[in-house]
Amino acid sequence: MPTPAELQERIRAALPGAEVTVDDLTGGGDHFRAEVVSDRFEGLSRIQQHKLVYDVFGTEIGGAIHALSIKTSTPGATP
């Protein structure tokens, strides 16, 4: 069962320098919420930003990770 810390680490590894917070929404290890602040998102649409985060987990989304709620922003943007 994935833990928030694991998810956090994997997003950080994929998006170096990103500020990442992951919470387990239900405590059940399958519904997560990730807040990611990264300069990699600069100039990208929301869709593209979220896809970058989803891509870290590939087919695990919908599988082991039932749901991953995402909020992305860039360091300069207001949250």
């Binding site: 929301r46 869709i47 979220h50 989803y54 087919t59 919908g62 709620s69 909020k71």
Partner: protein, 129 residues
């Protein structure tokens, strides 16, 4: 119905409906909180939209995600383009961007949207046999 036919059906639904929502359950009986919130945002804006329940056959979700490159449900398409899942739709609803995209007035009160009315469900399940 084989996978190609399902994908074709999905593509047709996207092409033929300006506002097309793929969700778990129906707008009246959503089967997942994320789908409920997304349908609720559309209901709160009073737009007409088509909704397709992806649950009756797992291949619907496989083909939809294959087509859109988006792994989760719900998925909202406006004018044939993927707008996003529930996080993006809710962010856009709250900021007024969704109303703008759909060409409607942002409601003055934005209470937690409740799923109800104004939908046109598409039945795929009865075409799967």
């Amino acid at each position: 119905m084989n996978n190609d036919e399902i994908r074709e059906f999905i593509q047709q639904a996207i092409d033929e409906n300006n506002v097309m929502l793929f969700m778990k359950g129906t707008p009246n009986q959503p089967a997942c909180g994320f789908s409920a919130r997304t349908a609720g945002a559309l209901n709160a804006l009073g737009v007409q939209y088509a909704a397709l329940d992806i649950l009756p056959d797992p291949r619907i979700r496989e083909e939809l995600s294959g087509l859109s490159g988006w792994p989760t449900i719900p998925q909202l398409f406006v004018n044939k383009e993927l707008v996003g899942g529930s996080d993006i739709v809710m962010e856009m609803f709250e900021s007024g961007e969704l109303a703008e995209l759909l060409g409607v007035e942002q409601p003055e009160e934005s209470p937690e949207p409740e799923p109800e009315v104004a939908q046109r469900p598409i039945g795929l399940e009865n075409r799967l046999d």
